[in-house]
Symmetry: C2
Subunit: 187 residues, 2 copies
């Protein structure tokens, strides 16, 4: 790889100052995260760029795990990136999946993820309104408190659509394998 | 997860003393690693437990990426673990795959990995003689020099079978996506 690769590692710092103000932080499953008022998103793994950090979570973007070629074409056609001017709302949702999930083979996980739970098909229905970026934590090391961190951005008027997206995913068979989830809303 | 999980992170230190003596270290593709005489395998990420380390590579065991349920049953039935008394030979083979590989979707990678290259089917033919353990590096961070580290153990009399296994894999379509590989033989 000759050209410098874009950063894949991101750190989410919660504290008392920052770019995104926390409107709401609530545990959906398992233990919560400590209360803070702001989130800063930082490229790389620098763990103490700000004073008074309450907690920090790290995640790394990576290759696709479940999306097929046909699904990827649909997604690429429909989705928009982060940073849209009208996207004044965001959500940070870290989740952890059970040991039972991780012991499944690829075909078993794909079957639950899409054939049973329609994870990709449901997400597609909310594009391009809800932009998302997935970060993986599980293989960063052995001490990570979550397996994934997803960052979402949308217009204030799309927050109820976002709630509906989450309700549908959380009632799917895939979510039987989620044992910790925290829902953090930002603006 | 109530019970303590077994360690998933391992560090491979090359130096001038250690449990495994390096018989041969040669670059197969891309740049080599510096010459050393011994390798120590350590649980966890401790980067300086020994004096005079020449280089260290880290990897983490993780969930299955390509194996199907049917293939897993065959593997579990046939394979044996590391640490067999008669396995006095080992090999440490770090590889890196190209950006083109990582931009493929799951179904495209599986198609190349197994339907075209028979990676699992070929490996099965050398079980239980050749025991193996795969470590992932790519999502440990952004500075890892390799994407995978595989550790193999076998009897001295099986080294020519091991060579044949490698020759077959290296001539497969999957290996067109390998841009760095170093082959380190140990005893």
């Amino acid at each position: 790889m000759i050209s410098p690769a874009p950063s894949r590692l991101f750190t989410f710092h919660a504290g008392h100052t920052g770019d995104w103000r926390i409107k709401d932080l609530r545990p959906i499953k398992g233990s919560s995260l400590d209360i803070a008022t702001h989130i800063n998103v930082v490229d790389g793994a620098d763990l103490e760029p700000f004073a008074n950090i309450v907690w920090s979570l790290r995640g790394i973007t990576s290759n696709e795990r479940y999306v097929t070629t046909a699904e990827k074409l649909l997604l690429v056609d429909t989705q928009e990136g982060l940073g849209r001017q009208l996207s004044t709302c965001a959500a940070l949702i870290p989740i952890r999946k059970t040991a039972a999930w991780w012991s499944l083979t690829q075909d078993e996980r794909r079957e639950i993820f899409e054939e049973q739970s329609k994870h990709i098909a449901i997400g597609l229905q909310y594009l391009p309104a809800i932009a998302r970026k997935l970060h993986h934590c599980r293989d960063l090391g052995t001490d990570e408190p979550f397996d994934f961190i997803t960052w979402f951005e949308f217009k204030a008027s799309d927050e109820s659509a976002f709630d509906s997206l989450l309700t549908r995913l959380r009632s799917s068979p895939e979510w039987d394998y989620v044992d910790r989830e925290v829902d953090i809303r930002l603006q």
